[in-house]
Subunit: 403 residues, 4 copies
C-alpha cells in the first residue's frame, strides 16, 4: 500500500479534467465483496442501474454499459453502426476529436474533418454547410464532442441537431459527452442524439473502467446492417442479456455498485443543482485566470466549458515545468496541453465531486505556484474567484441563516 | 449500500469459478483515491505492474493490460494478429470455447473446430492430425483454452505445443489461461505460446474489469501485417506508451493498485505453494463428489481441472433448482451448467484466495443442500475431503509444531 | 499494511469468543471520514444510535455508550452506584467473573463470592440463600455474568431476578451481557436489571472499543449518593449531553457509524432470527464435540451457552499446543483456557456474523487439526453437526424452494 | 450509509481542532478484519506500536495505550499517581484546563489554580512562585496543558520544567499534549515530564478512541503508593502485559493498525518536516486573521499555538451563527468558543493531515462566509496567507524544479 501512497502530506488536489475525485461514499460502495454475476441479487442490481443511468442521459432508450474506458465506447459507437468505407463527418475541436478521427481511419472509415483552431467548439453552420454539399447523402454519421476535454470548449449540441435537420441530412448524430455528462445539461432524447458516448470517471465521480453508449432507435436500426466486424462491443448481445439485468460477459460488478451509488448521490443533490455548481465553479475559475492576466484558451465565451478551463502561459514559459513545480510543492495535478499548443497551457478541471472551498484551495495553489515558478502574472485571481462565489452563494447563505 | 448487501447473515461462499473472493488486502488497495494517470507517481506504478505481471505468465516478453474483461482480451488476440478470412483451428471443449469460436465467426475469420463431448480437454494428437492435413499451411492460429471454465477440464498446453511442432506447422498458438493463471503452472515462454489471454478475476484475486495479452515476438510480427480493423484493442499504441509506464487511454488505475498488491501476495505465498494449494483443494473436492456418489463431468483424470469441479446430478434432478436452494439456505453460489448438459450439473469453483477450512465449509453446505434438495447421494463427502486434506497437510502441521 | 496481513491464504476463521468477525458492511460504515462531533449531522447520528441501542437491550431506559472496552463498563457500573466499603455479591463462574471481583477489590468494595467449579452458571437458589442471610440488607449489589465467556456457561438471569425478589432483598442487580447481547434473548427491563454491561465486539459485530451501561431508575437514584470517585465514567455528564445527541468527551464517531449499521443489520435479520441462528450453531457445535468424544466444559445442559463452547482435551494433551497447530495449519483461532483448567480446553466462539457454512468450515478445521495434533478422538463431528443443521434448516429450504 | 453521508457535495473541510482529517491510508489500515488479540500476529503488532509510539513522545520510557479518549488518559494520570486529598497545582488556561480541574475535584483531589484571562499560556514564573510558597512540599503534581485547545495558546513546557526545578519542588509534572503531540516539538524525556497525556485524534491523524500516558520512573514510583482507587486505568496490569505485546483487556485492535500506519507516515515525512508544516500553516492563518481585521484570541505571540487559531468576531456578531452559515454554505466546520468568550470567537484547526492548498481552501471559505454573514472585515486574508506560504515554500519549489 505504502508504495502507492503519495509522499506529500494532506489531500491531493486532483484538478485534472478527469478522472475526478471519487467520493468516499462511492469508494466504499465499490469496496465490497463480489456477488455471483448470474445470481438473483445481481439481477436486481443490474436492472436498477440500467434504468437509473437513463436518467443521467435524459433518455428513455437503452443505455449500454461497457467494461472499458471511453475509447472503447467511441469504438462501439462506430463499429455497431457503420460499414467499411463509410463516410463520417467530424469536427477537429482538439486532441480528443483528433484521436476519434484517427480511430475512424484505423477502422476503415473515411472521415472528413471540419477544422478549427482548437480554441472554439463546433460550429453548427459549418456542419450544415458541409452536409448540404453531400447531395448523395453518403455521409453516414456526424461525430462531435460535446465538451472537448483537451481545450475546454463546449459545442452547442442542440443547435447542431437543428443544423443537421435544417440541412435535411439523414446522417446519424454521435456525440461524445464524456467530460460533460452529469456536469452540465445533456439531453439525449430531446436533442435527437443517435449514439451518446459517456464515461464513468468524470461527472459520474467513479474510477475509470466503465463507459456508455446511449442508443436511439435509428442507431439500433443501422446496427442491423452495419458491416464493421465486432463482437466484444456488439450491442445485440448486451441488449438481449440486459433485459434480465445480466451482461453477456463478466461485468465489473464493483463499478456497478459504484454507479448505483453515484447516480443516487447526483439525484440527492438534484441534477439542476449539480449543473449550477459546475457553472459557478467554472465562472469563478475563469475570473481567476483573467485576474492573473493569463489568457483562456477558449477564445469565445459562447463555447466556455463548464468543466475545464485551459489557461495559456506567457510565451517562453513551459506549462509542463509549471505543472511539475505545482505538483511537487502544493500536491496538485492539472491536465496537460496538446497539439499546436503543447507545453503552452495547463488545464484546470473543475468537475465532479468538488465544491467552492476545494476550488479556492486549488486556485490558491495555482496562484502561489505561478509566483514560485516566476510566471508573470498579477495577484488577485483567488480574490476574484471568491468575490464571484460569495456573490453567487448569497442566496444559499440567506437560506442557511433562515433554517 | 444496504441495497447491495446480501440479506443472509455471515460471509457469502462465492464458489463460482470466478470472479473469486477478493482478499481484503486487495480490496483496500483498490479503495484508494485516484492519482493523475499522466503523473510521475503513476509512471512508477505502471512500470512496476507491467514488469510484475510477466512473472505470473512466466514470460520475459510484453504483457498488455486491458481495461476490459476476458472477452475483450480474446478479441484483442484475434484482431491484432489475423486478417479477414483467415483460417483458425479451435477445439470445442465447452461453452467458453464455443463462445470464442462465435467471436471468430463474427470477426470474419474461418474457424474450423475439433469437437469433443465437453467432458475432456483438447487432445494434442487430434490437433497435430488436423494441422498435418493443412498442407498449404493456411491455418493461421490454433486457439485453445488451458482450463475450460464451463466443464472443469484442463488441456495439456505443453503437449499441444509439442504436437504443433511435431506437425511442423507455423500457426500462431493462442491460449486462454483465464481460469488457470495464477492457480496452476502456466509457462508462456517455455511452452512457446504466441498470445496468452488472462483475466483479473480468477487466480489473480481481483474484481473483474482487467484482462491481459502476453505476446510473443512472432505474434508481434504477425500484427504488423494483420488486417482486421482495430483501434481500442491495438497492441501498438499500448506497447509504445507502456515504455514510460503509461497507457494510451485512461487506465483503470484502481485495478492497477489491486494488481500490484495481488501479485505481491502471490509471491509472498510463493507460486509453487499457490499451485499446491489449488491442487489439494481440487483433489479434496473430487473425493467429496465421488463419496456423494455423484459423477464428475470431466471423465478422464488426466484432464482434471485444478480450479473447477463440475458435478452431475442424477437424472431428473434440476441443478439450477439445487443451486437456488443452496443459495437461499446456505448463502453459497455455484457456477451454472451449459449446452448439452444444461441444468444437469453445478460447478464448484475452488480457486483464488480460498483455503482448506473455506473449502470444507463450502463442501459442507453442498452436502447439506443435497440432503435438503432431496438429491440422492451418500453422506461422507465432507469426511472424504477432510481425510485427504489432513493427510496432505500433515507435513505442514509437523513444521508448525516444530516452530 | 502488508505487515499486518496474515501470511496464510484465504479468510481467517476467527472463532474466538469475541471480537467476532466484523461484517464488511460495518467495516465500510466505520471507514468513513469524521464529522464535527459538535455539529448538526452528529446530533442526528447521536440521537439515532442512542435510541436504537435501547432496542438491543430491550429497554426504554437510558443506555450509556462508552469509548472503552467492557472492562471500562464494568468499572462504570460499580463506581456510579457504590461507595467505598460497600458489600457486593458476586458469583465466581469463571475467569471474567474473577476479574470483575478483582476490580471490585481494587476499587475498595467488599466482594463476597459464591463459588462454582467453573462448569456451571450462577445458581439462583444459592444467590437467594446468600441474600436471605443478609438481614441488615447491607449488600448493595448482586453482580452476575449472563454468559461467562471463559467457560461457555450461561446463567439464568430471569430466574435470578425472581430469586432476589423472593429473598426480598433491595440490592441492585448488575449483569454483564457482554458475550450474550444480540446473540440470545436479553431483557433489561422485563428482568429488572439495574445495570446491564454490554460490549461492541461480540453479538454487535463491531470492533472492540465501545461498551455500554443500560441503567434503571433505581441505579440512577443510587448514583446520586454513591461516593466512589469517578469522572471519566460518570453517568451524569453523559445523560445530560446525550439529550442533544452529543457526548461530554470526544466520542469514537466511527464506532457510532458502525453501531448505527450493525443495529440496522440485526433488525433486518430480525432479533428472533438472530437468536435462532445462534442456538442452531451452538447445538451443532456441541454435537460435533460430543461426536469427537471430547467433553464439553459446561457440565449441565441447562447452562449451555448459545455463543461459546469449551471443549476439554484428554489428559496429557496441551490445548495451547493444539490451538497453535490449528492456527498455523488451518488459519483458525480459538479462545484460550483459564484458571484451574488452563491448557486443558479450547473455546470455539460461534457468535456474531457467522452462518452454517462458516461453522462447518471451522468444525472441519478443528476435526482435521485434532487428527494432525494426535489428539485421541473419533471422526464424525462435522457429520453430526451437518446432520443437525440440515434437519434444523429443512423448513428454510422448503420456503426457499417455494419462492 | 447514506444516512451518515453529508448532503453537501465535495469534501468536507474539517477545520475543528480535532478530530482531524484521517488520511485515506490510515482509514484503510483500520478497515481490516480483526485478528486474535492473544495470538502471535497480534503480539508482533503490539510490540511494534508500543515501541514506535515512544518516538512520538521522544521518550525511552513506557507509553501506555488506552482504549479511551483523552479524558480517560487525564484520569489515568491522576488516579495512578495521587491519593485522596492530595494537592495539585493547575493553570486555568482555558476550557480544557478547567475541565481537568473539575475532574481533579471529582476525584477528591485539592486543586489550586493559577488564573489567566484565557488569552495566554501558562507562565513559568507564576508556577515557580506558587511552588516556592509551598514550603511543606505538599503539592504533589503540577498539571499543565501544552496546547490549550479551547483558546489556541501554547505553554512553554521546557521553561516550566526549569521553573519547577528552580523552585526546587519535587512535584510530579503532568502535561496534556493532546492537541500538540505530533504537530509541534514535544520532548517527554528531555523536558522531564512525569506523565504526558496524548490522544489519537489530533496530530496522530487517527479517529478518536485511543489515548496515551507516557510515564517517567518517578511517576511509576509514585504509583506504588498512590491510593486513589483504580482498575480499568491502572498502569500496572498494562505494563505487565505490554511486555509480551498484549493488553490486559481487549484492545481496540483496529486503532492499533491505524496507529502503526500513522506513525510510519509521520516518520516518512520526518517529524521536523511535520512541525515546520504546522508552523507554516499556523503563521499563514494568523496573517489571514489579522488581514481581515479580526483579533486573535491569544494576545501574546510568544504563546501562539501551532495547531489552532481562535479569531474573535466584532462585538454584536454571534460566532455560532457564523459557524452555522459557513457550514451550510461552504461545508466547513470550525471549533466553538467557551466560557467568558462563548459565542465570541471561532477556532480554526490547522493540524493533522492538512497541507497548504487545503488551508487556503479553508481560509477562502472563511473569508467568503464572513462576507455572507455580514461580519465587518477587510478582504485580503487569503491573499496574506498565500503571500506568506509562497515565501515560505520558495525553497521547496527550487528543490522541486531542480529534481
Amino acid at each position: 500500500m505504502s508504495q502507492n501512497a503519495s509522499r506529500l502530506p494532506g489531500r491531493h488536489f486532483l484538478q485534472i479534467p478527469g478522472p475526478t475525485p471519487v467520493p468516499d461514499r462511492v469508494l466504499r460502495a465499490i469496496d465490497m465483496p463480489l456477488i455471483d454475476q448470474r445470481g438473483p441479487e445481481f439481477a436486481k442490481l443490474g436492472k436498477r442501474v440500467l434504468e437509473a443511468i437513463k436518467t443521467i442521459f435524459k433518455t428513455t432508450q437503452p443505455v449500454i454499459i461497457y467494461t472499458a474506458t471511453g475509447t472503447g465506447a467511441w469504438e462501439a459507437a462506430l463499429v455497431n453502426t457503420l460499414s467499411p468505407g463509410d463516410r463520417v463527418l467530424m469536427v477537429n475541436t482538439g486532441q480528443f476529436a483528433a484521436l476519434w478521427k484517427t480511430m475512424a481511419d484505423r477502422l476503415g472509415l473515411r472521415a472528413e474533418v471540419i477544422a478549427t483552431d482548437w480554441r472554439v467548439g463546433a460550429d453548427p453552420a459549418a456542419i450544415a454547410d458541409h452536409l448540404r454539399k453531400d447531395k448523395a447523402r453518403e455521409i453516414k454519421a456526424v461525430c462531435v464532442l460535446h465538451n472537448e476535454t483537451s481545450t475546454g470548449c463546449l459545442s452547442p449540441i442542440g443547435e447542431i441537431r437543428k443544423a443537421i435537420d435544417a440541412a435535411g441530412h439523414p446522417a446519424l448524430f454521435m456525440v461524445d459527452t464524456i467530460s460533460s455528462l452529469a456536469s452540465t445539461d445533456y439531453r439525449h432524447d430531446e436533442w435527437g442524439i443517435d449514439v451518446s458516448i459517456g464515461g464513468a470517471q468524470k461527472g459520474l465521480m467513479l474510477p475509470p473502467g466503465m463507459s456508455f453508449n446511449a442508443v436511439s432507435a435509428k442507431a439500433l436500426h443501422a446496427s442491423k446492417t452495419a458491416k464493421l466486424p465486432r463482437s466484444f462491443l456488439s450491442w445485440d448481445d448486451m441488449l438481449t442479456m440486459n433485459k434480465q439485468g445480466f451482461f453477456p460477459y463478466t461485468p465489473a460488478t464493483q463499478m456497478l455498485y459504484g454507479l448505483d451509488t453515484s447516480i443516487a448521490m447526483l439525484h440527492e443533490e438534484g441534477l439542476d443543482n449539480v449543473f449550477a455548481r459546475h457553472h459557478r465553479l467554472a465562472e469563478a475559475t475563469r475570473r481567476a485566470v483573467r485576474a492573473w492576466g493569463l489568457e483562456i484558451l477558449c477564445r469565445d465565451p459562447k463555447y466556455y466549458s463548464p468543466t475545464i478551463t485551459a489557461a495559456l502561459l506567457p510565451e517562453g514559459h513551459d506549462a509542463d515545468a509549471f505543472r511539475s513545480l505545482a505538483l511537487a510543492t502544493f500536491n496538485i495535478s492539472y491536465g496537460a496541453s496538446f497539439g499546436p499548443y503543447a507545453k503552452r497551457y495547463f488545464r484546470i478541471g473543475h468537475l465532479g465531486d468538488i465544491n467552492d472551498a476545494t476550488l479556492i484551495g486549488a486556485l490558491g495553489a495555482t496562484e502561489m505556484a505561478l509566483a514560485l515558478a516566476g510566471v508573470p502574472h498579477k495577484k488577485g485571481g483567488v480574490q476574484a474567484a471568491m468575490d464571484y462565489i460569495a456573490s453567487a452563494q448569497s442566496g444559499a447563505a440567506v437560506r442557511a441563516a433562515a433554517e
